[in-house]
Amino acid sequence: MAKERRGIEVSLAIAEAVGQADCDVIAAYPITPQTHIVEHLSEMVADGHLDAEFVPVESEHSAMSVCCGAAAVGARTFTSTSSQGLALMAEIFFIASAMRLPVVMALANRSLSAPLSIWNDHTDTMMVRDGGWIHVFVENGQEAYDHVFWAFRVAEDPAVRLPVAINIDGFILTHVIEPIEFEDDELIKRYIPEYKMEKALHPDNPVSMGCFGMPEIYTEAQMAREKALVGSYATCVKAWEEWAVLTGRRYHPVETYRAEDADYCIVTMGSLGETAMVAVDELREQGEKVGVIKIRLWRPFPFEDLYGVVDGKRVLIVLDRAISFGGPGGPVALELRSALYNRPQAPTVVNYVAGLASRDVTVEDFKAIILGGKAKAAAGDTAGFTLYGVRE
């Protein structure tokens, strides 16, 4: 059967994917730029295209709480939020992973207040970086669609049982119309068969969930979380491999573009990766030996994959889309500096922060950042970070 390829808004494609995944419970509260996802889901439920309970909660805190309850009885559960919504649900976000509840979230990345901004950057997701979830970043509409299935596949795997956040740049990605290849329902069913949770809440087999821990047990509980998240790496990769076999579309924890023979690379996460690729093409024509490294799997952090692509490079220019105020740079640069610190002949890391609240990062900007970063590395000016394009 020929695959259907159609032009569709990415938010709607995400909702269609949740429908194809035969989700049981969707709980969500409206917040820009996530709204089109949940609007379309509620339409699908209202029209009978999706047999699910759509719970229109009174806050994001409740959205995540409802998801926890639904996931605890073994239902396939989805939510979507952004920015302030994520901040409000943050308390329960951390608990969902600790309780090993496989909730899937489409996180339409948006800047945090204040000043109030509905536009895109990564300040919201970085706030919950340490929340114990699996975090994946997607770059275009097709990846967003594909990763809904991947997220359910990984989250519900008995070896994993963890919630998954799919990071999708707000507006830049959620609100654009892209050609997306839709898979048929049969293929999806094979990839994510009906989910049966072990030890779900049910009167026939009573269990207690969310008990409180004295200091004698808290440390061990944290170790269990760490092991679960680190251990999920293998399933993440396996699920991508299976997807590649079924669809021909291949994903990796860290991906590269023209990086093999590059001396230095620009490192990105999310939708800006495609602009970076165009900038790299143009710089290559000018003789610059530059490439792109894109981090797709943010948690669990893919150390070995990173080492595999950065070993031998001289400079990494990291483009961050959030600031760690008062700290030494953006969160991605911090992560890389720390991952590479004791590595022999580690590349120099130069950090730029750009694209806050959707401020455009054009091909020209990327070229300026890449060449600027190269010059900074040559001059030994590598401490801290540069807020690109800021008016002072």
Partner: protein, 308 residues
Amino acid sequence: MDKFSVYAARLVEKGEYFASGHRACQGCAEALAVRLVMKALGRDTIVAMATGCMEIVSSPLPTTAWEVPWIHVAFENASAVITGCESGMKAMMRKGKLPPKKINFVAMGGDGATADIGMGQLSGALERGHDFVYVCYDNEAYMNTGIQRSSATPWGASTTTSPAGKLSKGQRTQKKDLPKIAIAHNIPYVATACPSFPFDLMEKVKKAAAVEGPAYLHILSVCPTGWRIPSEEAIKYGRLAVNTCVFPLYECLYGKYRLTYRPNPILPVREYIEGQGRFRHLTPEDIEAIQERTTAEYEKLVKLSEEV
């Protein structure tokens, strides 16, 4: 009801779903209330509980006092969590992923979890019309964290954050009327209860579970530790709260009020107030003010129940 008490006791479920061995204080009427609620609900029940005394005393890892499926997520969200359980089960049963079964979905929280931090979530869950029972165990302060005032603490009560002092009579505000707030959501069933009146309590729990849609139960749960009374007097003070009309027992079924117990004679409020350490500082005038308010509130309730 009292006339039939000897026989009624024989009808009570023998099974225990809130097991002994939990770590509640001596004389805790809240633990008793939980036990009675669970007896009335039976085994086919899923409980979502807010953070608080009952959660802490019943679930220190790796032990549990719960013989039914039980979940605790956080302080303010028991009502949202249980609506998630209900929605999940509903969808899965409809879709044939689970065999059909009648299950009681029950959220439980203290007065802090209900009247303060979880008010919005409770309101949302009631408004959305999920088929669940919310049980508020009201011991009139944040007892788990050390007797701090909540919006359900009565006027004049001295707590660790509304202490009586030279310039203070303790709690400065009147008790938030949670059952009335629940009734304002036009839900099928709302009732007050007290474990000092166990049959009345269990009957109400059964009604709450039987109606289709949300039900709200407000259970006065005497806390000897927080009220500063001897631990063997919790039942007595529950009776006094009801017999002085400080805490009237009533229900509101589909908008129709009914007093389920009319004290006769009505005892003076003084008898309820005087022995409690938390009210020790109140003057006879203060107690008179409480008496006047209590009488006025009770008369309003009598009127409402006569409108039927």
